[in-house]
Subunit: 429 residues, 2 copies
């Protein structure tokens, strides 16, 4: 890890730099894929699956039977764990379903908002080396709670043309019945434009590789909503003298094992804690299966010493981490100082992996500094709020003259006239 | 207006078509502007202002003095109207500031969300033929209520290099002190990348012409958040036999006067109402100052007769209008059937211009069918919600084993290990 001590603010920009990943050919490759799917639908999906996933399928659809049969292929222990996680994610996300009150802004003018589900949403679940079934829960639970009527799940097939049964089991648990074996940019294209099998959706969710990310970016330009822009995963840990170095090291390593471009930062006001965490990393690293990946990520990672924890938080707000761990017995005291972060883990027992899987919070979070403007996925991501207003005769008399004056000042006399005809009709009564 | 009667669902797609505006040269023009501003900052802004606004400025900054002096240049009547509108917009938007409760998902696992303002936001207010000062209120009020610490307002200068005092007066009322005379794609570039005078912001809000819209689209790709994608303004009116044809006609015309590409739709189950509304349009149109524009918009607009109001609402949900007026004495009964719309106006006295100016709701709304996935601007647009969790020793014992099991099934043993080290330390106590 690269160490800095008391960096001045002028250095913060370079200390916050994330790797930029996009290659020159990526965009044109992805545009090609999008076009092919837009023009030729399912047959393009089958060809692209053969090309990119190396498997020739007859159909991308997964039958309801296959979804139901998945249950027998998952161990009882894992099913129990998934059910516990699902229950907690439901409990937390259910608290996000709020009903708002009517506001009478002036007598006779009643305004309010009501939430409506986005009817048709697409969830993308990456495949690759591991079956990331936790993403099914993190996207599917809020979609179901929001009341989305049509939930389409796409995930790539493995080399044998199958989808991991754990992913199907999670879909089954949530009542998701439209699951398709298709991945990469071609899955995003199908969700954006629709094909014979896959209906076009209004919003696309989920993480993915650089093809998926670029495809989401490009379909967003065409008006399909996406959950948020993406970048490599990251954690920033602030550890004070009450932190447990063994725990902090395990948290940094759990982030580092994600990928060679994972961002890992340790901030502390204590030289001793930093030294002990680094020792612990050296001790724990060799025990990890993905140690080669973790080592690459750690080599590019940073340890920064500051004068005090307030300065650590200032830097953290500047960096705007996806995950922020405040490893301190007094972590709750620092909550008001957190301005920019995706999800915050307080105290010595709140490890990031708790939020990744089972505490109840969502793990789909803004990376790359996007936490300055974006929230993580929640029920809010699956609804829109519609404003309603009901204005009575008394109400239009109260605000009508102001509307006429403002509309005329904006040179829009048709807008004024819509009030004038109403006020006139009322003065005639 | 183009009339249809009882169109089958197979025709709905073509009946919902919006005009597509983008020209081939637009994107390369806008990319050129963005690059110029990114590279040469303020001096590029001054050159581009000379080129596009036809005025040579020494500085784009507006002094605090100029902002304060604006007050004396606005009529007392207009100031009163603006103050009434501001009060109503504040009252409604204040109701959107909510505090969420903590949820204990299992004993010892406490999760919650807290809102934080997006610190630095940019508001774009179009100039052109009319000073759209109402946009200052609609973007500025929620930004102030959210607690954004840095609010930057950009608006183009007129041919004499001035900004309309009504716009400055609205900024003054809201406490916005950073106002710049710059418009078009160059303003969006400045807000996205920052220049010597204008700080880079995390999110950009506001309507604009095709240059502004394209620039927002392009900077969004670079990770700057925007309020929503844009298209021409639109209203869909559903009128039943209790509607007042004179009022309905005035509402259709108030939308039509926006621009030649404004979308105006009238849906009804009553032949009589349709005929009377069309007559009223012919009667009112000649009285409007912007009748030439309104006429062009009306020529491309649609009147559709359905069997009943439920079918009208089905079509409306399919179309997803920016503004929906339910011109009926029984309008509130139909609220549960509204699935996709930006803002809904209920009853015979709720004209769209009320929501455009003074009832309290926001007028920055999703057009072009985006209401299927997007909400209008609200306080929510100026905040992000951060999740927090505090897990106790008891809490990690409750959920730890499930996390270990799930992490191992995703082949992420570093994630499991972060729990294991904590559980081990607790079993040793």
């Amino acid at each position: 890890m690269i160490r800095s001590k008391f960096p001045p603010k002028s250095k913060w920009k370079s200390l916050s730099q994330r790797p930029s990943a996009s290659s020159a050919s990526l965009e044109s490759d992805v545009r090609g894929i999008l076009e092919r799917v837009a023009q030729r639908g399912d047959s393009a999906l089958l060809e692209l699956t053969e090309k990119y996933d190396g498997v020739s399928l007859n159909t991308i659809a997964i039958s309801e039977e296959e979804i139901f049969d998945s249950e027998s292929k998952v161990s009882a222990e894992l099913k129990g764990a998934i059910q516990l996680a699902k229950g907690n994610i439901e409990a937390f996300h259910r608290s996000q379903v709020l009903k708002e009150e009517r506001v009478e802004t002036v007598p006779g003018v009643s305004c309010w908002r009501e939430a409506r589900a986005i009817e048709r949403v697409g969830l993308y679940v990456p495949g690759g080396s591991a079956p990331l079934f936790s993403t099914v829960l993190m996207l599917g639970v809020p979609a179901v709670l929001a009341g989305c009527s049509d939930i389409i799940l796409c995930t790539p097939p493995d080399a044998n043309g199958n989808v991991n049964p754990i992913i199907l089991y999670c879909a089954k648990l949530l009542g998701i019945r439209k699951v398709f074996k298709v991945g990469g940019a071609q899955a995003i294209a199908a969700l954006a434009y629709g094909t014979e099998s896959i209906p076009a959706v209004s919003k696309i969710f989920g993480p993915g590789n650089s093809y998926v990310t670029k495809a989401k970016e490009l379909v967003q330009e065409k008006g399909v909503a996406i959950d948020m822009p993406a970048g490599p995963s990251e954690v920033l840990v602030i550890a004070d003298s009450t932190a447990v170095p063994e725990f902090v090291a395990s948290d940094l390593l759990s982030q580092a094992e994600h990928g060679p471009d994972s961002q890992v930062l340790l901030l502390s006001d204590s030289n001793r804690v930093i030294a002990e965490v680094l020792e612990e990393i050296d001790r724990q690293l060799p025990t990890l299966k993905r140690r080669a990946i973790a080592e690459m990520a750690l080599n590019a990672s940073r340890v920064i010493q500051f004068e005090n924890i307030e300065q650590c938080l200032q830097f953290s707000n500047y960096y705007a981490p996806e995950h922020l761990i405040i490893a301190s017995e007094n972590a709750e005291e620092y909550v008001p100082l957190v301005q920019n972060a995706g999800s915050v883990f307080l105290g010595n027992y709140s490890c990031e992996s708790a939020g990744d899987y089972a505490s109840g919070t969502n793990h789909t979070l803004p990376t790359n500094g996007f936490a300055k403007a974006y929230s993580g996925v929640s029920v809010d991501s699956f609804i829109k709020k519609i404003t309603f207003q009901n204005i009575s005769a008394r109400g239009i008399k109260e605000i009508g003259p102001a509307i006429e004056t403002m509309a005329k000042a904006e040179l829009l006399d048709g807008h004024a006239n819509a009030v004038t005809v109403r006020l006139k009709s009322l003065s005639n009564v």
